[in-house]
Symmetry: C2
């Protein structure tokens, strides 16, 4: 495999970061992959498993030879990390990420890049509720969409290299502006996560230990409530406006069905359900 | 296989009814299974596939020799059907059902039984979004829970026979009162279905064709929005009070997270997410 990068440093050796490393290795990547994190035990394990070639808990040490730096920690930590490492980033290097929010990230991180270093935002639509290297897989990004979000100031060469890198690990790349990305994923991803958490809490409010009675439908609907709370807290903080807007539309849909049930308007309710079913049928 | 029944008539040869027939046959049931429905083409197909031994679109014809009658149509049709067939039900026969609501059914259907005929309510927690005999399987009820809901007037011998029948097809039976059943399933099943439909409609309100951008999380969360609208309309109509009560608890959870996001109370939001995640972890 040929890539534009010789040394790749991944900051955050969790599910996303280690799956990225595994995918590169599975494709025959011959460069060096360095893992950076705060948990040395996790890094040692990742090296022992052959996920990374090298590791350090010293961020500036770990990035100084990197041709590509991938940010794979919760988005709430990006700014602090980049401020900490920016002066040591090699000229010509590219910084990219796997964060689920984009507008604020591109706006905050882009301008922190030193001369000759380029930031390109990315968001692979892949993941599991299970987190950490124990769940990592070389196939996580295979056939997954990866949204790349160039802003007005994004360097075109860097953009092309990041697109090509994601294609290497099997992803289908899609371009969106950071703002467009956040509207879309505020609705189709962030909203459902918030609702899954709220649904579990709503059900346990009816009766404390009632959840166990649920079948496959309930399991499917609440599976994403197993996702890491700190990650989704950060995503809500970084896409607050769009998530609030989506929550408003959703709440008005809930109010609508509630009213129909209150009024015993069964034909109206069926119509509402049918509309949803038809829209959902387009999805698979 | 030994059962208490020689002739079994299933009213409604859809997913639930035909899977029940297939399960009985897979267990070596030697009696006769008659299918009743309104769609002759479907019945012909079911017979050709060996799901049923016999069929008719004449309800009274189809039930007069039955030792057991299983109602496997949407709950909204139970009352009309039972009123239509009741005088022809054989003395000693048992009538049971697979309906997702119980209190109103037990209250309405129980008293319609003629002398010597007993109704026992049942609700197997099994199903698919895919409906009809094309999705039927002999294993649908294997290891599924089946809630049996005796009321104050339920005949004890009939109850035992119905329990034993569900055990025969592989289900784990659980006893609840009809009222208890409706509170529990109003929360863990009916509410999630209503919310799945509302979620799809809420998302398409943000942008019309946005749904396609979703990943596995969205697919999982909205899968049950593929369920038959007329079935869920009937369930809402028959468990209106409990569903409204669950919707109220859920809406207050949604309001809570919305407020936390509005106030940018990120520690508070994380706590809310964490509570949900812990409750959900108990589920699998």
């Amino acid at each position: 495999m040929k890539t534009d990068f010789k040394n790749i440093t991944i900051i955050g050796i969790g599910l996303m970061g280690s799956s990225f490393a595994l995918a590169l290795k599975a494709k025959g990547f011959r460069g060096r992959i360095t893992g950076i994190g705060r948990n040395r035990k996790n890094l040692v394990k990742a090296k022992r498993l052959g996920i990374i070639d090298d590791y350090t808990t010293e961020y500036t040490d770990g990035i100084k030879n990197a041709d590509l730096i991938l940010l794979a920690v919760p988005v709430g930590r990006f700014e602090t990390i980049v401020k900490n490492i920016r002066k040591e980033i090699k000229k010509g290097a590219i910084v990219t990420d796997v964060g689920s929010v984009k507008a604020q990230i591109v706006k905050k991180i882009g301008p922190l890049m030193p001369e000759g270093v380029h930031f390109v935002g990315g968001h692979p639509i892949a993941g599991k509720e299970c987190s950490g290297i124990k769940c990592a897989s070389a196939g996580l990004y295979r056939n997954a969409r990866c949204v790349i979000t160039p802003g007005r100031n994004t360097n075109n060469t860097a953009l092309k290299k990041v697109i090509s890198l994601w294609k290497t690990v099997g992803a289908d790349t899609v371009l969106m502006t950071p703002e467009e990305h956040d509207i879309v994923f505020g609705a189709v991803s962030h909203l459902p996560h918030v609702i899954a958490y709220a649904l579990v809490n709503g059900i346990t409010k009816v009766e404390d230990s009632i959840l166990n009675n649920g079948g496959r439908g309930l399991r499917d609907m609440t599976r994403i409530a197993l996702s890491p709370p700190e990650l989704w807290r950060d995503i809500c903080a970084h896409n607050r406006k769009n998530i609030l807007r989506s929550l408003k539309k959703f709440s008005s849909s809930v109010t609508r069905v509630t009213r129909l049930i209150e009024k015993s308007d069964w034909p109206g309710l069926e119509k509402e359900f049918r509309k949803a079913r038809e829209a959902r049928q387009g999805l698979e």
